[in-house]
Amino acid sequence: MIMLPTVVRNLFGGPATRMYPVTTREPFARARGHVEFNEDLCNQCGTCARRCPAIAIDLDKDKKEWILHPDRCIICEVCAEVCPKDAITIAPQWRAPFYKREAIIYHSKAVKEKGEKTGE
């Protein structure tokens, strides 16, 4: 009986539902949605790959590829924090679902000369 006012208020007050996907709410500014990679800044230092707790980042130093496995990424933001070149950022929009598990391959462009020490 005590619940009665609440349910009646709900009935006449209209639903609280956000009509997703008809209307979509903008994600919050600093929400951790998905990893974005800037090919131009990456120098293939590999810190991100080493520090990633979910081994979601691979580096192919020969092909100069930076490989992200979106199916493994837990969006912890560590890669973005440790990246010395700020090549990795976290964007607020969540990653869309997919049918197939596929890695995303980027080509790092700001690669240092061979033999130079990779910094931390």
Partner: protein, 145 residues
């Protein structure tokens, strides 16, 4: 049977199974049912029982004991059926990659139709995942969603 094909798209009953997830995705799946997201708008009802379900929503990485359960549940769902792996761990095992009792993603045990990434996957992403699954079903049946 056009009406049946159409109805299938309008009434996807889900069953949620938690493998050995951290609960994060589970509560987000549950949150989908609550007023703010209210997936019943799409005819989605959470059934507690594989025999009534059309869509199996799996969260968490498969571990060595839940693998058996997951397979059993999948077999008890009458066709046509879809499987959605929710969350990064359900997709690939994610952060638990080096845990000894974890086999990996859901697709190690049963075929998965849609993967919803995210740790934890947001309710919106889960709704997107269901829509994606329905699109696949619609395409299979040759009807418009």
């Amino acid at each position: 049977m056009g009406i049946i094909a159409t109805s299938r798209l309008k009434s996807p009953w889900i069953m949620h199974f938690d493998n050995s997830s951290c609960n994060g995705c589970d509560i987000e799946v549950l949150a989908c049912l609550t007023p703010l997201y209210d997936v019943e708008r799409f005819g989605i009802v959470n059934m507690g029982n594989p025999k009534h379900a059309d869509v199996l929503v799996v969260t968490g990485p498969v571990n060595r004991r839940t693998a058996r359960v997951l397979k059993n549940l999948y077999e008890q769902i009458p066709g046509p059926k879809m499987v959605i792996a929710v969350g990064t761990c359900g997709t690939s095992g994610g952060v638990f990659h080096n845990c000894y009792n974890v086999l990996g993603g859901v697709d190690k045990v049963i075929p998965v139709d849609v993967y919803v990434p995210g740790c934890a996957a947001r309710p919106e992403a889960i709704i997107d995942g269901v829509v994606l699954a329905l699109q696949k079903l619609a395409k299979l049946q040759g009807v418009a969603l």
